[in-house]
Subunit: 367 residues, 2 copies
Amino acid sequence: MTRHFNFCAGPAAMPTAVLDRARSEMKDYRGYGLSVMEMSHRSSEFIAIAEQAEQDLRELLAIPDNYRVLFTQGGATLQFSAVPYNLLGQGGTANFLDTGIWSRKAIDEARHLFGAAYVAASSEADSHRVLPRQEDIVLSEDAAYLHYTANETIGGLEFDYIPRAVHPDGREVPLVCDMSSSMLSGPLDVSRFGIIYAGAQKNIGPAGLVVVIVRDDLLHQACAGMPSLLGYQALAKGGSMVNTPATYSWYLAGLVFQWLKHDVGGLEAMDAINTRKAEMLYSAIDNSALYSNPIAPQNRSRMNVPFVLADERLDSLFLQEAEAAGLLNLKGHRSVGGMRASIYNAVSEQAVDALISFMADFEQRRG
Amino acid sequence: MTRHFNFCAGPAAMPTAVLDRARSEMKDYRGYGLSVMEMSHRSSEFIAIAEQAEQDLRELLAIPDNYRVLFTQGGATLQFSAVPYNLLGQGGTANFLDTGIWSRKAIDEARHLFGAAYVAASSEADSHRVLPRQEDIVLSEDAAYLHYTANETIGGLEFDYIPRAVHPDGREVPLVCDMSSSMLSGPLDVSRFGIIYAGAQKNIGPAGLVVVIVRDDLLHQACAGMPSLLGYQALAKGGSMVNTPATYSWYLAGLVFQWLKHDVGGLEAMDAINTRKAEMLYSAIDNSALYSNPIAPQNRSRMNVPFVLADERLDSLFLQEAEAAGLLNLKGHRSVGGMRASIYNAVSEQAVDALISFMADFEQRRG
């Protein structure tokens, strides 16, 4: 059995220690005589697993008591529908920062469902290579909330600050963040947000699960006539068990939280590791003649590092040799081209070292 | 490591052979150097897994070519919203057979979203102990489709025929079936249905995944302004990859399909086993003085067998001794009380034998 280095943008690498644990508990969870995926979601054994996962996540992110944590389904994409449904019941318009493909999908869905969406700032004129600054953000008069994408997985951009969602008249509206590809990469001031949501398949666990963190006072402004299962209030009241949740994915997420707490040592330690990994890789790119990354330095993503080769005719050779060297999934998104190394929490410093060595070697031989 | 006998109604027992396979491939899928849950859903490796799963399901159920198979998320409960959204775009009213708790949930959601739902027949007057016959079903004039629940997991009722959805004037409308707790329990004439959907966590795989089988001509009558991710047409066009699907659950479902094909020998063989299991258990109940089941014989579920003890003060002792004997999750649903033995595909004849022996022994000692 071999474990290669996996730079997939998502579904992404899982910590090997988590897979070891899941493997050992696959057929008999701690003497209960059955797999976690065979447990009733209402059994005391599974409730204990679910509550422990929530408690660990609360501890890792220091989530304040006035926030509810939901474990639901449908990916972040279903939240593109759920967020406006839950927040526009009293009218108003959803406001957005348009920073690339993922924020654009959220904008399109709000427009599709509600006929309107307001772009409060955009990086489109800069080809999404530099993110809007706070002073660029101008909300609409009727803004109900401001939505942004903390990290654009495809473009490789990441906000270096948490925006404030303030009208010119000083009135503040809730800040909503799609944090799918950066949640848990470091500490976070949750109190700055109204809603944070994240598809699991980057830093949390397997695809399908979604984590939503929502401030209590935002549970009461949902639209009538939305699909019941998308309602945060019902999910919060039912402990995310309005219907059968994705129990096995929830359990795996819990194992990831345990790994972050005990093996890594918490999110400050994770943050330091992620900073080192990203600095080393960007530095290798910047110091080479063959590789380049077009993103403004302050907005470079720590999670997703796109780069292009000076001669794109070398692309397929690069990918072929990388794969032969055990470096998987480096091909860039089809809309961007080139390469992309996703270096989420579970991608070790050793993996990044191996990638950098390979890149240097390839440049020397082929560049 | 021990594997107990698990009679959970869902998430339900998985075939041990499937867990063995998943366990052995957990860290390295067939030499690729990564887990299936770490694969890009767009990688050739995962596409092969996904396509094989669909092909095996098509083969098992002999699904005609003019039906699409979708692997989506949110449980059958999200389909309670998705079905009316997808079928009521040209007006009309959703018609239902009201046969218990699950059909009632589907009715309530259609009414919630569209303001109306018509009950074409109901077993409520019979306390949901006998199902409507074909001659009891009278559709509304404006019926757009007829929805029913093939097997009521909580009540323990199962249709012994496939209803026809025909107006008095002879016009036929699509038949829609929630088959969550009976799909794959035996062969099925898919061509009788417009839409079949099933939450995976009984006979298919882990909770979170949903399988939808939809006839081609029904892809084109969706409502405008529904959540994009619920649209069957987009899911069909995108190969169920409009967004990241629940890849690991999809893979596990594929292993279950392989088990059904190769270990069991197909759905006719599965059908015979399920018939034997159910006949033995109901016979043991009927021939005892302590246990009883209230459902009309022709409507008794082959998958979920509820029974009560003549003296309910024995309930907790029964459950306690059963658990000590390695017979898990026999407690009835809170809305029904008593016991329930769910004997899905993965619950072996050996497990049912062990339950029957325990029941006889308990009756002799305590009855």
